[in-house]
Amino acid sequence: MNNFASLLQSIARMSDAERHELLVYLQRSGDLSFPTDSIEEPHPAYGSPLRHLTRDEFFEFQEQSAMTYEYINGIIRAMSGPTVAHCLITQNLFRVVDARLRGGPCYAFCTGGQLNLTLGDDEIVYHPDLYVSCDRGVWDERGIPNPRFVVEVLSPSTQPIDRREKLVNYCRVPSLEEYVIARQDRAELAVYRRGMSWSQELVSDPAATVEFRSLDVTVSLASVYEEVTFNPKR
């Protein structure tokens, strides 16, 4: 067994308190740049980042933090930075959607802002890549509760969340009419619509167009993926 393996095995047997101490030791030992997928140093008031936070505590935590986090029923997760392809897809979509919505009651968000959702007993804060809300009366400092249209661009790390958990939770939002999942490893959009009992329309023909009925917008797949170079490894 090599040193690294025996080290990990020893850590695996430590108590939580010992691990926390070890983490502090590691953080103090310098030049660690923390991976974006994990949680940065939490505000001391919150102790371990694993602590279950109420939604109020979460908002307070997020305010003190330089990063953005998702929240679902007490659990928080830091968002990682997007890839170039991810940005291109989001921005291509935003341009079309925003141009169409100008002058109307609806507003498209693609950077910043967040959805603050209460679904039955479930409390959720998500940061979709693109979303549209049409009723400004209920917008709030803590986020927007009433999206009509949401797009998530898939990344390897969020794929099961976007395809499973978010499909369920977005479809539970009463105001939501359409949920779109965009792949970044190839040109493919999956559109889920309330009017079709949330069944899936898959669009992958490069010559095809896709209709966002809730916004009365039609886009070509080619324009959504304009300038995107596909990385075969993803």
Partner: protein, 232 residues
Amino acid sequence: MLKIEEIHHALRLLDLEERERVAGWLEGYQDEEIGVPIGVAEPSAVQAVDPPPYMTEEEYLEFEENSPIRHEYVNGTVYAMSGASLAHNRIVTRLYKALERRLRRGPCEVFIQDLKLKLSPGHDKFWYYPDLMVSCDRSGWDKKWITNPRLVIEVLSASTKHIDRREKATTYRRIDTIDEYVIVAQHSRQVTIQRREDNWVPQVVSGPEAIAEFRSVNASVPLTEVYENIFE
């Protein structure tokens, strides 16, 4: 087993990438896949048949009948399950034995791994394969699945931890029969119990003396029993 000073020394010898892996792991849920040499690494999901991305429930059940590997179903989305690690399997087996022994004389039955759980909260449709379930009411038992567990236990793996901690935690609390949801760490002695009666606020159980109380079925199991010989 290394002493703390030895661990510090070993950490200083690591290169930056390795230190980040350890730090990320310590910060996460202690279940990050970092190649801890206890148990066998989980194989990636090998899909014998590439399922179409969207299916009705009927299509899913038929597809499952003919598939060599298991899939979960979430509102039309079909997801292949990867095989479990050795440690995962051993923990599940220990939990099964522990619960089975304690519940043998009562009406409750412990179900393990290969049984489907069908859930339909609101308009949503889920078909899951929980690691362990306890159900005490035969009216919710079908030939190939059950619908009414009281207790559900998932042993975490790196590949499913987001699903277990986020999606399933959210789904299970929407099911009236489920009173308790338990997440069991694979790489450390730690059990997280969420109970309806506590408004699902998690109780984290860890430490050498700790006992996991499965209150929904009135059974208590010491962690030494859950993790017996796992880390040796």
